[in-house]
Symmetry: C2
């Protein structure tokens, strides 16, 4: 049986990349959290790796589709990609910041259809709903 960690290492090796300490560290932090900003990620790594390295690692992880960026207004956060988490879209609470993953396969077909109507080749899509969770609604 193969663990997520093994899948990750294999993915690196198969693409001609080394399995290094910084890469393992970043991956480990990501498996423990829903979605993190660069800031948060850097802080969680607590001096284990350099900031420039973090950016380079995330850049590589994106190419290999190990992670994705999700956008929240000005900012973005990093999270593990579908291969590792199995979901795609999000409901985010404007009150407390909670991110709830949602899985909506209907959107896949929808995306393809819209893209082809405009002669685009869609390589990714993003669907985000922002609002207030039950708890935050209760506070009002």
């Amino acid at each position: 049986m193969s663990s997520q960690l093994d899948d990750f290492k294999e993915l690196l090796r198969n693409s001609g990349n080394s399995v290094t300490l910084p890469r393992l560290a970043v991956f480990e932090v990501l498996t423990k959290h829903e979605a993190l900003s660069m800031q948060e990620l850097y802080q969680r790594l607590a001096g284990q790796i350099d900031r420039a390295t973090l950016y380079r690692v995330i850049e590589l992880f994106e190419e290999l589709e190990i992670v994705h960026r999700i956008n929240l207004g000005w900012k973005y956060k990093i999270e593990l990609a579908e291969t590792f988490t199995g979901h795609h879209h999000h409901l985010t609470c404007l009150g407390c910041g909670t991110v709830v993953p949602i899985n909506e396969s209907k959107l896949e077909d929808f995306t393809k259809q819209v893209a082809s109507e405009h002669n685009f080749r869609a390589s990714r899509h993003q669907f985000e709903i922002q609002g207030y969770c039950a708890k935050c609604q209760a506070k009002d």
Copy 2:
């Protein structure tokens, strides 16, 4: 009959904000373009206003929902909000940055349904497709 410009001025006044030259200038530029980055916006304003002011104006416009940001991977662009343009989503080209608005009412119902399933009160949603436009596909 009220113009977009009048609506805009009223919106500012009703919220206790002044109608100033910089604000008018930014609004005018935005009415003339689909979606602009801060860079582009600043350049279009050609020295009419300071960079810091631009950021402050955009911040205010966002609060008043005069504009919103649309996300393109790492980056974002500014565009007039639904009140002024009619609610829409986007197809963005990862090659050249072109933004094509799409209007998909199906998503409204969809959003409501998903939100209620999770006991969320949805206040806004965002649907973005990223890919390559016909021109950029041809370049490969």
